[in-house]
């Protein structure tokens, strides 16, 4: 590949938002005088995915990670903002369109059960994109490639004859990984790709993903709630909270010296392998509600450092010493206490 001519980023997202209308039907609203209700799942986020690197996204359940992934794949239309894949604007592209571009961009879904056609055998599920995109010409080639992919993800070549329901949860997740790899995509969006796998199979898959990255220069967007996995995979790490990116930057920087109170809280709740008696304190404070988000900094109701400014003014992402960006008034004012991961443990 001639990297010279290409921009360093394979994907660029600018001020993208997604609002869902979750109001009751119009007539009910009229009769019961209920207001229209809008849920802002993604709120003006911007980021770049460097070519050949892994951009990881972490954040609480419901903070909008899967919605971001679906926006990128064209499965939701953004309410605002632009998404570019290299030089093409794909903001309003329908799913799967245009095919030439979409085969370069694939996704592994969070729910492996919903994403495999139950009536197809494995060799059809994995073989179909191979034929469709003209990667394999003959049936023999398809069979060979399907079997190779199955072995790569730790299944057996003989599994090609089976239907999805004959597999366990983790085995199905491996099928969807194999399918996503068929078109040899340049950008792979992975939504919790290994959370259904036991740790030894997880190691196999993650090692495989790293090998593919080294060999073919693949770029990954990697969504996960497992910080140890993120530590291993990520080059760049983004932390989301209630639809916004609150901190983003080089992985090491964020693990070693996080510059946002929410990131610090996340790093402090990692479960440890110490047995007995430990009761991780569930995060205190009001759980955020994306239907009516808090004023100012949306983290302020749970933040130990919140002051009046935090309650009224929304903080902006600013660059910090070390090169990461975070959105926090306390960091702006130099009010963040010093931090080491050891201190949190």
């Amino acid at each position: 590949m001639n990297d010279q001519a290409q921009s360093p980023d394979i994907l660029s997202v600018r001020k993208v938002s997604k609002r869902f209308d979750i109001s009751e039907p119009f007539l009910n609203r009229l009769l019961e005088r209920r207001p229209r209700r809008i849920l802002t799942a993604v709120d003006e986020i911007s980021f770049d995915v460097p070519r050949g690197k892994t951009f990881a996204v972490v954040g609480e359940s419901g903070c909008g990670k899967s919605t971001v992934a679906r926006l990128l794949m064209g499965l939701h239309t953004p309410s605002a903002g632009t998404i570019r894949f290299e030089d093409s604007d794909i903001t309003h592209m329908a799913p799967g369109k245009p095919p030439a571009l979409r085969r370069r961009m694939q996704m592994i879904f969070q729910d492996p059960f919903a994403s495999l056609n139950p009536r197809w055998r494995v060799r059809e599920i994995i073989g179909e994109p191979l034929k469709n995109f003209g990667i394999c010409k003959t049936r023999a080639e398809v069979t060979q490639e399907v079997e190779k992919l199955l072995v790569q993800v730790g299944l057996n070549a003989a599994d090609a004859k089976k239907f999805p329901h004959e597999f366990s949860g983790g085995q199905r997740q491996r099928l969807s990984i194999a399918r996503a790899l068929t078109t040899r995509p340049e950008l792979l969006i992975c939504d919790e790709p290994t959370s259904a796998l036991d740790v030894s199979v997880q190691s196999q898959i993650l090692n495989l993903m790293k090998d593919l990255q080294d060999e073919f220069g693949m770029s990954y967007i990697f969504i996960s709630h497992d910080l140890a996995v993120v530590w291993y995979m990520a080059d760049v790490l983004a932390v989301m909270y209630l639809g916004k990116i609150v901190e983003v930057g080089p992985k090491e920087q964020i693990f070693e010296n996080p510059q946002h109170p929410y990131t610090r809280l996340l790093m402090g709740t990692v479960p440890k392998l110490t047995v007995g008696g430990i009761e991780r304190a569930p995060v205190s404070g009001e759980v955020p509600n994306p239907i009516s988000p808090p004023s100012g900094c949306s983290f302020h109701p749970r933040c130990p450092l919140a002051n009046e400014t935090c309650r009224t003014v929304s903080p902006e992402l600013k660059v910090r010493a070390g090169g990461a960006h975070s959105a926090c008034h306390a960091a702006d004012a130099g009010r963040l206490p010093s931090w080491t991961r050891m201190a949190a443990e």
Partner: protein, 321 residues
């Protein structure tokens, strides 16, 4: 007091290529108030074991032999109608796949309210109030507003929590939780685990917790059972199994756990894959991947022997050595 006993159960799926034994003779006991962690290789038979207990093995699959007893009463041979009543009321099941337990055409609230009306005999108003409490209990923000939404309007982790609320709301004595916290971030996970532990402590509820997350096991379970290729290979107290695993597979599993701060270029993995369940080779199913295998391992199947704080099925233990 013993709540649940599995006595040498064998689960079989007849297929066109001959029968496939997904669970090959498994015995366990579980006391009231106890949390048993069930871990093991993907495809080892953990979910199928759960399905055998709840009577939810998909036909043509069946329990070929063995017994499942709840408080001494056999439940593996009950009529489907009777079993349905036990499930929900006595046994709550949290499935690995949250979508199968949620009905897409009913709101989350309707599903919770229905379950409580059927199993607890509450009226609509009381059930609705409890449903809101349950959503709050599993950490869903703005539960009152969320009650009237449909499952597809929830995030993956929120759906998983609704499934948990659905399984718990009928106050069962035994909970089979299959990967209940996989889609959850660490702080919500902590909340769910605290909830499960509280139910065990206060109501004597027993839990079988299927998960691959050793952090969750360490924090929650009293005992741990490890499965490989349809069999138990090790069972013991949580501290021993996690800190001092005996079976080579368990050791491999523990070494594969990624650690923050580790700078190795590759994660440790157990080389190779679990063998297919059909036509098993003689000997120990783990032998082809086992770094400690001896000749006997390839010819003779190890049977569980007392070791550590429980039992282990491996030729490196027991009187043979």
């Amino acid at each position: 007091m013993t709540l649940l006993e599995l006595d040498n159960i064998v689960v079989e799926f007849p297929t066109r290529r001959g029968p496939l034994e997904a669970v090959k003779g498994l015995s366990l006991e579980l006391n009231e108030g106890q949390i048993l962690g069930l871990v093991g290789e993907s495809g080892a038979g953990k979910s199928i074991t759960g399905a055998a207990i709840t009577g939810l093995i998909e036909p043509p699959g069946l329990i070929r032999s063995g017994q499942v007893r709840l408080r001494g009463q056999r439940i593996d041979n009950l009529a489907p109608e009777k079993m349905r009543r036990i499930r929900g009321k006595e046994i709550g099941a949290i499935f690995q796949d949250p979508l199968t337990s949620l009905n897409p055409v009913y709101t989350v609230g309707e599903q919770l309210i229905d379950t409580m009306r059927v199993h607890l005999g509450l009226d609509h108003k009381a059930a609705r109030k409890r449903a809101i409490d349950w959503l709050a209990e599993v950490g869903i923000p703005a539960p009152e507003a969320r009650l009237d939404q449909y499952p597809h309007q929830f995030s993956g982790g929120m759906r998983q929590r609704v499934v948990i609320a659905l399984a718990l709301c009928a106050e069962p004595k035994l909970i089979i939780a299959d990967e209940p916290t996989t889609a959850l971030d660490v702080s919500v996970q902590a909340q769910i685990l605290a909830l499960l532990k509280r139910l065990c402590r206060e109501n004597g509820t027993a839990v079988i917790l299927v998960t691959h997350d050793m952090g969750v096991i360490a924090e929650t379970a009293d005992r741990v059972a490890v499965m490989y290729a349809g069999r138990l290979v090790e069972i013991g107290d949580v501290a021993q199994v996690i800190q001092d695993p005996l079976h080579p597979y368990t050791k491999g599993l523990m070494n594969s756990i990624p650690q923050i701060g580790n700078r190795d270029a590759r994660l440790t993995q157990i080389e190779g894959a679990m063998p297919g369940l059909r036509n098993p080779a003689p000997g120990c199913a783990f032998a082809p991947r086992c770094p400690q295998a001896i000749d006997t391992c390839r010819t003779l199947r190890p049977i569980p022997v007392d070791a550590g704080s429980g039992q282990v099925a491996c030729h490196l233990f027991g009187e043979a050595q």
